[in-house]
Symmetry: C4
Subunit: 231 residues, 4 copies
């Protein structure tokens, strides 16, 4: 079942490796079939070398395995929380990519220092608050998702398809697995450039709103003119 | 038409990937046929994996597509502005290479800290001013080109074949696509080394003019003696 | 003899290269057969290009070569000291991976700044004291091992499977060669992220104990639920 | 003529690329046949992609081409100056490897911060003084060599097989091309680690002499016990 979804989720997991975002098994991608209420996700702690579409685990919205012989990624409850909160997303990606994680470890969001950032993220990429002891000890992964959703109270997930989970690392998402991976790649590049820019100028301020608007909208707005998309 | 130009432009786009200057689709190369007044450029937002010569889009000097089924790169108006201003250039390259972009985001040019720099760029690589809100909202890409040309009032494009567009990223150029790519590669290396040198010595000053003259001229002057070029 | 051990030790040495932890021949892995009291280790200063299982040198616990025509790694006495002190480890890895070594050179341990760290190392990765002149001049490699063991008086080797030898570089270990290499890979990634986080926030403090406990235990505790391990 | 020397020099040039030390054509290796007083060196500005043994240019000690249809590297006079001054060296390597060059641009030598450094370089890697205007304008490349030799008045070339030419980049050497390349690789790694260590601790001091002695001598002294060398 869900062959096409499993195929795209498996490919997305392998693309994370191809883009250098994953060390060993530190990453996972899931995708959702909204009509059936089912999610396909990478199995937990499995090597990427021989991963196939059939290894993807299918679960329902309570995290119960519906298909697959392997255990799902331990981060599954975080993914489910995001799917529950945001109808408009179709895929979630989690990595420990080095520079984005460095910002998460420093409890800093990534401010919008340039047009590369603005092409993908409509403003500063936020960092969540730290979880409380109780949140960590009870339903840790689910509470990670809840803290992300809480942080997005005034943000739109498809305009800001990335977050840094404090002292943990980045989550990104998108309409589908391909765009969620694209956002993970962009986030890591943007983090690396922001670190270098801050080294050159520690007091650097974000770009003006009119540049941000221009760049985000030329790629994502109703009058987007970047790429080959037909309207 | 313009088969040779399209071939060299396509190869140059792929060389950007080979040299590690391009993340996803963040880069574009164009080349001009001065006799016919036509420009070949990468299509917008297309993956490099299967790109062929035939995908290059041919446009006239007003940006009107003359040949090709795809949309040209959205940065085309910037390229055209440079071709209009500078008769001596034959190709333009735009990337978001990480270290050069980090300088652009910090609104800093790259000072000439060594002979690697002097071998390719005759002095400090300049950064443009920020665009005004009006410039961004009306003809943004064209105004990006105009701000570059404005910044070069006292500079010669073939002596300084690179610029940092403020809060955006680098543009380079050259007599042909191969040399424009070469300058993009050199710029990124020079940016990375400058960042490291500034980390070691934040007050570092540029090299003396006599070292700059020596290195630039041994590669580019009328009595150049680097390489296999016959005079 | 010890064919399986030699195979896993050879593979582990090659995996160090695959993970980018080794420049030239700067690294070595050994594994121990506790029942026979024999250790298999990489030969000294031999290129990785043509290394085969049969090149691994088998020595006894006094370092005497029992099998193999090549000299064992000069770091062998360090490995032996760790095997003697800690019954629970089955393999030792030594590298000069760039970021972990940078911390060792600065005489700094790597504090636990995030969950990537906590997934592998139960607290701050320690740095040894410097060796005295006498310790360096007499049995240098063995004393390197002794200083590591001394530093671990209050630490459990399988909870903290890594150390930085002051002004030298990292040693890691594990139940077997595969996990020892995994810890070397994790250590280098964690070191690179810690350096970047400290650049962003020089006064950064380690994560709270409840996050550390949660992450280490979900992977390594008796109730671990990460990966496909069956209990 | 000199087939074996040309083969080893060509291989060494290609090894620089393999080790990531060369951007485009920024590097060159030469080797000397002391008996005949002839030097084989990379041709100037030629791409590495199709380089063969036969492209190596053979020159005499005055730099006159004895064999080969291409022009020798423009840095040849620097190489010759080193061969003339130091009988014990058999090969010279020049690169613009990024981190070593960053130190050269900052006019800083690389202090000996750890055993990786001490394994290859017996003390701090020195940086030359800047050349005067006259030295640059008259016989620039030869004077670069002279400034290196001047800096080595109290140093032994095979104990310190590397130098940073101020605002230019590194030169290394060795008994043969293989060891000269090895020193170039070590120098770049050591430079990268030193930069990171200095970021962690700006006031970091070099290691003690007894650690330096131990490490250099275990690899290079008369009683060296690293590697498979038989004595």
């Amino acid at each position: 079942m869900l062959e096409e979804l499993k195929r795209s989720v498996c490919k997305a997991n392998l693309d994370l490796v191809k883009h250098g975002l994953v060390v060993m098994t530190w990453g996972n991608v899931s995708g959702i079939d909204r009509a059936r209420g089912l999610v396909a996700i990478k199995p937990s702690g499995v090597s990427y070398d021989a991963m196939t579409d059939g290894d993807m685990v299918v679960v329902d919205m309570d995290g119960k395995v519906v298909e697959g012989s392997l255990k799902p990624s331990s981060d599954l409850p975080t993914h489910l929380e995001l799917y529950r909160a945001w109808d408009e997303i179709g895929s979630v990606v989690h990595t420990h990519s080095l520079h984005a994680t460095a910002f998460a470890q420093a409890y800093r969001g990534i401010r919008c220092f340039g047009t590369t950032h603005a092409d993908h993220f409509y403003g500063d990429v936020p960092c969540t608050r730290e979880l409380t002891q109780q949140e960590v000890e009870e339903e840790y992964e689910r509470n990670t998702g809840k803290a992300i959703v809480e942080r997005f109270k005034t943000l739109k997930p498809l305009e800001m398809p990335a977050v840094l989970a404090a002292n943990h690392g980045p989550f990104t998402w998108g309409k589908d697995a391909e765009s969620a991976v694209c956002n993970a790649v962009a986030l890591e590049a943007v983090a690396q450039m922001a670190l270098a820019s801050l080294t050159l100028k520690p007091t650097l301020q974000p770009i003006s709103n009119y540049v941000l608007d221009k760049h985000f909208m030329r790629k994502h707005g109703p009058e987007a003119y970047y790429g080959q998309n037909k309207t």
